[in-house]
């Protein structure tokens, strides 16, 4: 997993961000450290089913995408 998938990743832009714990500046697409914790995203959600072209379905009705952040989603449930 990369930094961008971590719960403690604070994105400053599309390339990089800051670790909320260490305050270190980190790159989105570089491997995460050993303290990695999964960020809530659609791809980790019980209600998300992957389809094709990097798209999927949320609650079997709405198109969604696996990397969407779900920290504010009331329907999110860990797989």
């Amino acid at each position: 997993m990369n930094h961008i998938d971590c719960k403690y990743y604070l994105a400053t832009d599309v390339f990089k961000g800051i670790c909320k714990r260490t305050k270190a500046k980190i790159k989105a697409d570089e491997p995460a450290c050993s303290d990695f914790e999964k960020a809530p995203k659609c791809k980790h959600c019980l209600h998300f089913s992957m389809k094709e072209n990097n798209l999927g379905l949320c609650l079997e009705k709405a198109t969604a995408y696996p990397d969407m952040q779900a920290v504010t989603c009331n329907d999110f449930a860990w797989k």
Binding site: A11, D13, D67
Partner: protein, 891 residues
């Protein structure tokens, strides 16, 4: 082909040419350590787009098919706000942004979706065919700073500016396609074709005679925020007002009111979730924090947000945070440029003064908060097409903060907080918010000298604006809607230079009523966006053809052009046709915007929407005559008319046929589009150069605007008076007459790029003169006071604005004596009736060095039009033009 460099200095000077080392600016200040860290973080950050908001907006919109449109939109916006991922960056004292990125923004496909399609997509090709993306094709974006100019790794570049994560592209396309034939752009396009003359409109757009449509690009903005309701009532208080109004309106005639109040209520619920989500994020950040001070700051942020999600502000810090929340909230409901905070120092003064009197706020803390505010405004980006973001806005968002002016009862409105705002603009010299000083003879000298100190720092602000001229314009413009002398004093600048109506709002604080100013009119600079005057003249000379594309734009005019009067008449006819067809088509676009994508938050804020239950698109604002006609290249038009008149018709130095051939052959020079240099200097000759040498010299030697020369100034005056008068012949969507607006923003770059050489000697593809009364670079040779005389040869109050840019070498205004001399020069112009003047205080050689070594100049800023921007984020067209501007080495 043998090419030779034009024998001409790279720089244009009035006075002695500066010698020796490049001179830096006289004054340098620094922000607090906290803000300096934020600024460095900003410098490292790229403009980033996300799909989160449009995804949730579209998902909710689709769920609610059949719902009342304004309620459906409110629910969609609410879904967008409540799902935004919260982010709080280290050291921030003011929080919340457009998205979770520091320089974040997002596309709004409900306005226009074709732009987001891949270039090979059919939808994009349809847009191309309709002439909608012509401006995009001729625009250059800045290649440095925060622009993502190329796709790299997992990041895609959009419009040469915004980065988008690759994994978000499929969902963006999916969302965008859901708006096909449903967006404001598409629906508007369907109905605007009903306008007779629509064919000409498409050709006008394709020829880039007009820069862009109005209704679906930036439908709001160029206006002044009104923060009164949240400051007075808080969010829950406004919801209670909506509740009461709903009960009074339900079932009674005028039913649209209940849908409006329901929508406002819904929207506010969305904002409350958005704010509370950030409070939770602040608590999370606090839980991870080991430093006790930082932990405590995060907890304070959380507490403040939880309070403000419900209540009115308790302190200056609260008030500033709430103002920022509503500013971003409005920006997130539409693609907006030029949403100005207005006279914010006067709006917040009662809160600031109370805290200072209580001893709970210091000047140092005030300054730090104001610096934090500057960073938040600077982080704003506006997501729109390349032609709009690059060609018009130069990546800027035009949040104009105004200072000075008069109080409700006609006294100086300058205050101590405004002195601190000026100071913060020096210590934290970032592009946003830009500042405008509303000059009035009643303002104290100390305040004016503080303004001069800030101008001298070289950031281009404050712009100096004539309070009385603006008041005269507004009184005349809004007299039929009841504007009074007392009310007109509440005006402010919306956007870069758009004079906007305001009102005095009765803020009650501890039982004392403070009348605070706030905007009370909707978007200005909607209607007809930027007509290229030299391009219209080109069509006149070539009987309606666009020489770049070879396409017919206008019907043949039928004149033989045997006299100057015939040229002028043909110009008036083509220009009038342009205004007519663009007014009618843009009226339809805005009508469609009001039906599909009405403003809810901004409507709620603007008096008297909340009182009457009408949104902005239903004339809920107190003042509604805000549609205008914008132009570009006026000085090149007038210089060209003077050259035609003198060379062709009076002195008969050459025939019109010869001139046309010279223009087509670019006076024997290679096109600027080939050389990649867009100013008159540094152009390269072709072998054909000698053929046109004499003709070109005669064109260059014809009288030029900016020298107090009555020959050309009278032509300028005739044009101005005709232009302002003719605008009143056309009526806006709100059945009000249009008025004239004279700002170039950055359009003089791309519009110059598509225009042949002009009869004034300007070469093909090079940039037009900036502003509206700035001389063409290098042609103002009689000093600043001659320029002022030319610029004030007509009544500036007949138009929404005028714009004068000057470049001054730092040594000229050095020290106290230099500052005094500088102020007297500005006064002299404003006393002559000039509306606006602003300055680049810079050694031109530094700009050239910065162009060649951008990495050394990340923080260098220049004034372009009504805005300041980082040099490295400007396109080359505009960089070249700013370098070429006449540098005054004497005043």
């Amino acid at each position: 082909m043998e090419s030779k460099k034009i024998e001409c200095d790279t720089y244009n000077y009035y006075g002695s040419k500066p010698e020796g080392e490049i001179q830096t600016r006289e004054i340098h200040k620094s922000p607090s350590a906290r803000v300096e860290k934020s600024r460095q973080l900003y410098f490292e950050t790229k403009s980033s787009a996300s799909v989160e908001f449009p995804y949730w907006y579209t998902r909710k919109w689709e769920e609610l098919e059949g719902e009342i449109p304004i309620v459906r939109r409110a629910e969609a916006l609410k879904a967008g706000f409540e799902h935004l991922t919260p982010a709080i960056f280290p050291g921030e004292l003011l929080v919340l942004g457009k998205s979770h990125y520091l320089r974040g923004s997002y596309p709004m496909p409900w306005l226009s979706e074709a732009f987001f399609m891949a270039h090979e997509d059919r939808l994009y090709k349809d847009a191309l065919e309709a002439g909608k993306v012509s401006a995009d094709e001729v625009t250059t974006m800045g290649q440095g700073g925060g622009n993502v100019t190329k796709s790299i790794g997992n990041v895609l570049s959009i419009a040469g500016k915004f980065g988008l994560r690759k994994e978000e592209m499929p969902i963006l396309l999916d969302v965008a396609k859901k708006w096909h034939n449903k967006s404001v752009d598409d629906v508007g396009h369907k109905y605007e074709q009903l306008v007779p003359g629509y064919h000409e409109k498409e050709e006008i757009m394709r020829a880039v005679i007009c820069m862009f449509d109005s209704g679906y690009t930036l439908p709001q903005g160029r206006e002044v925020m009104n923060y009164y309701y949240p400051l007075q009532y808080g969010i829950e208080g406004i919801k209670n007002i909506c509740d009461e109004k709903l009960k009074q309106a339900a079932g009674y005639p005028g039913m649209d009111r209940i849908y409006f109040y329901k929508s406002v209520y819904t929207m506010l619920e969305g904002l409350q979730s958005w704010i509370k989500n950030h409070a939770e994020e602040a608590k999370l950040m606090a839980s991870l924090e080991e430093d006790e001070n930082d932990k405590s700051e995060y907890l304070e942020i959380a507490e403040r947000l939880e309070w403000l999600a419900i209540n009115p502000p308790r302190t200056f810090h609260d008030a500033l945070q709430l103002v920022w929340i509503f500013h971003v909230a409005v920006l997130n409901e539409d693609a907006i440029s030029g949403l100005s905070p207005g006279r914010l120092g006067q709006v917040l003064y009662p809160f600031w003064k109370r805290d200072m009197d209580k001893g709970i706020l210091s000047r140092e803390r005030s300054l730090e908060l104001l610096e934090c505010m500057r960073m938040k405004f600077t982080e704003l980006d506006c997501f729109a097409s390349m032609g709009v973001v690059g060609g018009v806005l130069s990546g800027n968002t035009f949040n104009n903060l105004c200072l000075g002016g008069l109080t409700k009862d006609g006294e100086s409105a300058a205050n101590e907080l405004e002195m601190l705002i000026l100071e913060s603009a020096m210590t934290c010299d970032t592009p946003q918010p830009t500042l405008s000083l509303l000059y009035d003879e009643k303002l104290p000298e100390e305040f004016l000298l503080k303004g001069i100190e800030c101008t001298k720092i070289g950031t281009g602000y404050p712009a100096w604006i004539n309070n009385r001229v603006a008041m005269e314009f507004l009184l005349n413009n809004f007299k039929n809607e009841g504007m009074t002398l007392e009310e007109v004093r509440a005006w402010s600048i919306g956007g870069c230079l758009e004079t906007s109506a305001g009102s005095w709002m009765p803020l009650d604080l501890d039982g004392v009523t403070h009348y605070i100013p706030g905007g009370s009119a909707p978007a200005t600079s909607v209607g007809v966006h930027f007509i290229s005057l030299p391009k219209v003249l080109e069509a006149v000379l070539f009987d309606g053809l666009d020489k770049r594309t070879g396409r017919r734009v206008y019907p043949a005019h039928g004149y033989n052009l045997e006299s100057y009067e015939e040229v002028w008449k043909a110009f008036q006819e083509y220009f009038s046709l342009t205004v007519e067809v663009l007014t009618l088509t843009n009226n339809i676009q805005h009508d469609v915007w009001g039906k599909i994508s009405p403003s809810i938050i901004n409507s709620m804020l603007k008096p008297d929407c909340l009182e009457t239950g009408k949104d902005i698109s239903n004339k809920g604002s107190r003042y509604n005559r805000t549609f205008n006609v914008e132009i570009c290249g006026g000085v090149n038009l007038v210089n060209s008319l003077a050259s035609l008149k003198k060379n062709v018709f009076e002195e008969k130095n050459f025939s019109l046929a010869t001139l046309k051939q010279a223009l087509e052959e670019n006076f024997g020079y290679i096109s600027a589009l080939e050389t990649g240099s867009y100013s008159l200097t540094e152009q390269k000759q072709t072998q054909n150069f000698q053929t046109w040498l004499k003709t070109h010299k005669q064109c260059l030697d014809a009288p030029k605007f900016g020298n107090d020369n009555k020959y050309v100034d009278n032509i300028f005056k005739e044009w101005q008076e005709w232009f302002s008068g003719m605008c009143e012949n056309y009526r806006s969507l709100y059945d009000e007459p249009l008025y004239s607006c004279q700002i170039s923003v950055s359009t003089h770059g791309p519009m110059g790029a598509v225009t042949l050489a002009t009869p004034d000697g300007r070469l093909g593809g090079t940039t037009f003169a900036d502003g509206s009364v700035s001389a063409y670079p290098g042609t103002d040779q009689n000093g600043p006071y001659a320029l002022f005389s030319s610029a004030t040869c007509y009544n500036h109050a007949s138009s929404q604005n005028s714009q004068l840019n000057m470049k001054i070498h730092p040594s000229v205004i050095k020290g106290r004596e230099g500052a005094r001399k500088f102020l007297e020069m500005i006064r002299a112009y404003l006393r002559k009736g000039g509306f606006h003047v602003q300055f680049n205080i810079v050694d031109s050689r530094m700009l050239k060095d910065a162009q060649q070594n951008p990495d050394k100049y990340r923080g260098l800023m220049v004034r372009v039009a009504g805005f300041t921007q980082y040099w490295v984020e400007l396109g080359k067209q505009i960089q070249d033009e700013v370098i070429a501007r006449t540098e005054y080495a004497e005043i």
